[in-house]
C-alpha cells in the first residue's frame, strides 16, 4: 500500500515536470521527440515488443468504439473551444498590429492614451509638419496629415429602428491618402474638399446602415452624402473618413485637431524626429511609430481574451481528462488477463506502459485534430466586432485560427491524453500477474 502511494506521488511530480517542459516546447522539439520515439519503437527489442502490444490495443479499438469515442469527442470539444476563444484574441491583435508600421509616426498631445483624447492647436500642427525626418512629396510638401478623430452615432445594420452604434469618424488633411498608401477606394470616389461627403471603410459599411455610395446619413442635425468605400485591410477599415475642416465645423473644434500622422523619410529618422519634437519647448507632444501605437491599443483586450480562453479551456480540460482516465481504466481492466499473460511469458512492464500511453495519445491526437479543424472551418475569418479600447467606434475584425493556435490546441490534446493514459498504464503494468490471471 505504502509503495503504491509513493509511486502515485512520484507520478504526479513527474507529470508536473513533463507538462511544464511540454508547454515551453516549440514544434521542432516535438518533432524530434516523435522521431526519437519512432526510432526506439522500430530499432530496439523493447520498442518492438511495445509496438506489438500497442498493435493489439489499437486493432481492437473498433470493438470499443463507444468508450474510445468519448476520449476523441471530449478532447475535440476542449480543443475546439480553446482554439475558437484564442482565435478571437489573435484576430483582434493581428488587425491592430498590421494597422501600423515602423515607417510612419503618430504625434499626439503629451500623455494622451488615444487619438480621441488628444488635442493639438493649429500652431503646434504647423511646427510638427515642418520637422526634419518627415518624408516629402515631389512638390516638397511634408507627407503629414493633421487629423481630427471623433465619434459618430449611426444606425446599426439589421438593428431596431432607433438602435445606433458608434463609429470612429476621421477628418483627414489634404495629404491623408498619401500618408496611408494601403488605403484604396474600392467603390465610388473620394470626398470632395469642403463638402459634407464621407468615404466609408468596408468594415464600417458592413456594420452600419446606409453606408453605400450615393446614400445619405445624418450626423446630428446634418445630412452627409456617402461618396465612396475604401479598403485598407486593417483596423482603419472600421472608420469613416471625411474632410478634416468640414468635420471640425460639425464638431465645433475650430482649428484644433487631435493628431498628426506622418510618413518617415526612412525608418532610422524616427529617433531624431522623436527627440526633436519632444524636446521642443513650444510643443508638448508624444511621438510614437504607428506600429507601437496600434500594438499598444490591443494589449489590454488581447490579454483579457486570452485569460478567458485559457480559463475556460482548463476547466473543460479537467473534465475531458477524467473522461479519458475513466475510459482507459476500463479498457485496461477489460484487458487485465491479456496483459498479465504477456507479462507471464516474459514481456517487461515498460512496453505495456508505453503501449497503453500510445493508444491514449493516438486517440487524443485524433480529438485534437478534429477539434482544431472544426474551429478552423467554422471560425477562421469569422467576422466579429467590439468597441475597441482606445477608439470610439466599433472595430470589426476577423477571427484568426493561425497554425500557431492549432499547434497550441494539439499540445493541449496530447497533454490531456498523456495524463489520461499514464495512470491506467502504470496500473496495468503493476498488477500482480497471479492476481490478474486468477480474475474472471
Amino acid at each position: 500500500m505504502r509503495v503504491t502511494w509513493l509511486i502515485n506521488v512520484g507520478l504526479v511530480v513527474l507529470l508536473a515536470v513533463v507538462l511544464a517542459a511540454w508547454v515551453m516546447l516549440p514544434w521542432p522539439g516535438a518533432l524530434a521527440l516523435a522521431v526519437l520515439l519512432a526510432a526506439w519503437l522500430l530499432l530496439t527489442r523493447r520498442g518492438r515488443q511495445t509496438l506489438s502490444v500497442a498493435n493489439v490495443g489499437i486493432s481492437t479499438l473498433s470493438q470499443r468504439l463507444g468508450s474510445s469515442g468519448v476520449i476523441v469527442v471530449g478532447i475535440a470539444g476542449v480543443v475546439g473551444v480553446l482554439v475558437s476563444l484564442l482565435s478571437m484574441a489573435e484576430g483582434y491583435a493581428e488587425t491592430l498590429r498590421k494597422t501600423g508600421g515602423t515607417d510612419s509616426v503618430i504625434v499626439m498631445r503629451g500623455g494622451s492614451a488615444s487619438e480621441v483624447s488628444s488635442v493639438l492647436a493649429r500652431d503646434s500642427i504647423a511646427l510638427i509638419q515642418q520637422a526634419d525626418g518627415i518624408a516629402r512629396n515631389d512638390k516638397g510638401e511634408p507627407l503629414a496629415s493633421e487629423e481630427l478623430v471623433v465619434a459618430a452615432n449611426l444606425p446599426v445594420k439589421g438593428g431596431a429602428a432607433d438602435e445606433t452604434g458608434s463609429v470612429q469618424l476621421r477628418g483627414i488633411g489634404e495629404r491623408g491618402w498619401a500618408v496611408r498608401p494601403q488605403a484604396k477606394i474600392i467603390a465610388g470616389k473620394s470626398f470632395g474638399p469642403g463638402l459634407r461627403e464621407l468615404v466609408v471603410g468596408q468594415g464600417a459599411a458592413r456594420q452600419f446602415a446606409g453606408l453605400v455610395p450615393g446614400g445619405t446619413v445624418r450626423l446630428g442635425a446634418q445630412t452627409w452624402t456617402v461618396a465612396g468605400v475604401f479598403a485598407t485591410g486593417d483596423a482603419l477599415e472600421s472608420e469613416i473618413w471625411a474632410d478634416g475642416t468640414v468635420v471640425s465645423d460639425t464638431y465645433r473644434r475650430g482649428g484644433s485637431r487631435t493628431s498628426v500622422t506622418a510618413r518617415l523619410a526612412d525608418p532610422q529618422a524616427f529617433k531624431t524626429l522623436k527627440a526633436a519634437l519632444e524636446a521642443n519647448p513650444q510643443l508638448q507632444v508624444d511621438v510614437t511609430t504607428t506600429l507601437d501605437y496600434f500594438s499598444k491599443q490591443s494589449e489590454g483586450v488581447t490579454k483579457v481574451l486570452r485569460i478567458i480562453g485559457i480559463t475556460v479551456g482548463s476547466i473543460m480540460a479537467i473534465g475531458a481528462m477524467f473522461g479519458a482516465l475513466n475510459t482507459m481504466f476500463a479498457a485496461v481492466a477489460a484487458r487485465a488477463r491479456e496483459i498479465a499473460t504477456l507479462r507471464a511469458i516474459g514481456f517487461s512492464g515498460l512496453p505495456v506502459v508505453v503501449a497503453v500511453m500510445l493508444e491514449t495519445m493516438l486517440l487524443a491526437l485524433a480529438g485534437g485534430v478534429i477539434g482544431g479543424l472544426l474551429a478552423w472551418a467554422i471560425f477562421d475569418g469569422y467576422g466579429a466586432s467590439t468597441m475597441a479600447a482606445g477608439s470610439v467606434g466599433k472595430l470589426s475584425f476577423a477571427l484568426r485560427v493561425s497554425p500557431d493556435l492549432l499547434w497550441t490546441g494539439l499540445k493541449w490534446a496530447l497533454a490531456i491524453g498523456f495524463i489520461g493514459g499514464l495512470f491506467p498504464a502504470v496500473r496495468a503494468a503493476r498488477l500482480p500477474v497471479t492476481t490478474a490471471l486468477r480474475e474472471l
Binding site: 473543460m316 477524467f322 468597441m387
Partner: protein, 388 residues
C-alpha cells in the same frame, strides 16, 4: 425513496469510475456557474426600477460630444421632470495608465437622482464644501487602499489643467456604498469629483456638460419626457438623444460584445461533452451489472421499477456532481472577485442560475440514463443469466 440505499450502492459499485465521472461533472457545472454569473452581470446592468425612472441625455452626434449647460434649465421646465443633473467623463487612472478608474465630474445634485447609492450626510456635505473633494466607491477604495482623508493623485487621460499637467489631486471625503448589493457592481466602483472644480481647472471643457441625467416623476411617462427633451434641441447644432438608463446600458453592452452568444456556445460544447462522458459511464455501469439486474428481476422487481432505478441512478450522479460544481462556483466567485482586487466583479450564483442548473442536471441525467435504463428494462432474465 426506499430504494435509495440500493441506488446509492450501485452508483458507488466502482468507486474510481464514479469519482472520475463526478469530477468531470463538477468541472462542467463549475464552468456553468462562472459563465452564467458573467452573463447575468452583463444583462442586469441598469435593469433596475431606478434605472427605468432615469433618463440619459447625450449628444445625438456622438457620445464624446458635449452639450451646452443652458440645457439644464430647459430640461427642468419639461413637464414630468423631477430633477436634472449633469456629469462629464473624467477618464482618470491611478498611478499607471492601465489602472483605469470610472471617474466622473458631477453636478452638486447628482447623488439626489441615485437613491440606490448610500453615502453619509456629513460626507455629502464635505463633498459639497471641499473643492477638490471626491467620493469613492467602496470596492474602488478597497482596491487601492484609500481612506477618507487621503489626498490622492489621479491622472486624467483626457484633460490637462491650465499648466498642461494631467496630474490632478483629490481629497477623499466620503465612501459610496450600494444600498442594493445586487446592482452594486457598478456604483461601488465609481469615483465622483466636483464638476465646478473640473470645469475651472481644465481649459478644455469651458462650461459644457457631457450628459444629463433626468429623473421623471412617473415611470410610465418616461418615453414622452424623453421625446420632449430631445425636441428642445431639434435642428440646433447640439441635437440630443435621450434614452432610459436601462435602454442605454443594454445598447452599450451590445456594442461591446454579444456575451449571451459566446457564453451559450461555450456551454453548448461543454454539456455536449458531458453528455458523452456520463453517458459512457452509465452504459458501462449497466452493462457490467447485467446479471445483477437479471437477479433483481427474478426476485420480483418489475421491469418498470428497474427502469426507474437506473434513471434515478444517473440523475443522482448528475445532481451530486452538479450541486458540488455549483457550490464550488458559489465559493470561488467571491474569492476571485476579492483576489482581483476589485478588477473583476462577478455577482454570486443567483436563483436563476440555480434553477437553470438544477433543470440541466435533471435533464442531462434523464437523457444519459435513458438508453441504459431502456436496455435494463427490456433485459431478458434467461438470456442475461446465461450470459448470452
Amino acid at each position: 425513496m426506499k430504494y435509495l440505499h440500493l441506488i446509492w450502492a450501485s452508483l458507488f459499485r466502482r468507486k474510481t469510475r464514479t469519482v472520475l465521472t463526478l469530477v468531470s461533472i463538477i468541472a462542467a457545472f463549475l464552468l456553468f456557474g462562472l459563465l452564467d454569473a458573467v452573463r447575468s452581470s452583463f444583462s442586469q446592468a441598469g435593469q433596475s426600477a431606478n434605472g427605468a425612472a432615469r433618463l440619459q441625455t447625450g449628444s445625438k452626434l456622438s457620445f464624446i460630444q458635449t452639450l451646452p449647460l443652458s440645457l439644464t434649465q430647459q430640461i427642468e421646465r419639461v413637464d414630468g421632470v423631477k430633477a436634472v443633473a449633469y456629469a462629464n467623463w473624467f477618464g482618470g487612472a491611478y498611478q499607471d495608465p492601465h489602472n483605469q478608474v470610472f471617474s466622473f465630474a458631477v453636478s452638486p445634485n447628482y447623488l439626489d437622482l441615485f437613491p440606490e447609492i448610500a453615502v453619509g450626510d456629513d460626507q455629502r456635505k464635505a463633498f459639497a464644501s471641499t473643492r477638490t473633494g471626491a467620493l469613492v466607491g467602496e470596492k474602488l477604495a478597497q482596491r487601492f487602499g484609500w481612506k477618507v482623508g487621503d489626498r490622492i493623485p489621479l491622472q486624467s487621460n483626457i484633460f490637462p489643467d491650465r499648466s498642461g499637467s494631467k496630474n490632478w489631486q483629490f481629497d477623499v471625503v466620503g465612501i459610496l456604498r450600494a444600498s442594493d448589493k445586487k446592482t452594486g457592481g457598478w456604483f461601488d466602483q465609481m469615483f465622483l469629483l466636483n464638476w465646478k472644480y473640473f470645469d475651472d481647472t481644465t481649459p478644455y471643457n469651458q462650461g459644457a456638460a457631457g450628459w444629463y441625467v433626468t429623473r421623471v416623476t412617473d415611470v410610465n411617462q418616461a418615453d414622452r419626457v424623453a421625446k420632449a427633451i430631445d425636441a428642445l434641441s431639434a435642428n440646433s447644432d447640439h441635437e440630443t438623444r435621450t434614452q432610459t438608463e436601462q435602454a442605454a446600458s443594454a445598447a452599450w453592452m451590445k456594442q461591446i460584445a454579444d456575451i449571451g452568444l459566446i457564453v451559450g456556445s461555450i456551454m453548448g460544447a461543454v454539456f455536449f461533452t458531458l453528455l458523452l462522458l456520463s453517458g459512457n459511464t452509465m452504459m458501462q455501469a449497466v452493462r457490467e451489472r447485467t446479471s445483477e439486474i437479471a437477479v433483481l428481476k427474478t426476485i420480483g422487481f418489475s421491469s418498470r421499477s428497474v427502469l426507474a432505478m437506473v434513471l434515478a441512478e444517473s440523475v443522482l450522479l448528475l445532481v451530486l456532481g452538479g450541486l458540488a460544481g455549483l457550490g464550488l462556483a458559489t465559493v470561488i466567485i467571491p474569492v476571485v472577485s476579492a483576489g482581483s482586487g476589485g478588477m473583476l466583479n462577478l455577482p454570486s450564483v443567483g436563483a436563476g442560475s440555480w434553477t437553470l442548473g438544477l433543470a440541466l442536471m435533471a435533464g442531462i441525467g434523464i437523457v444519459v440514463g435513458a438508453l441504459p435504463a431502456w436496455n435494463a428494462m427490456r433485459l431478458n432474465i434467461v438470456d442475461a443469466l446465461a450470459g448470452r
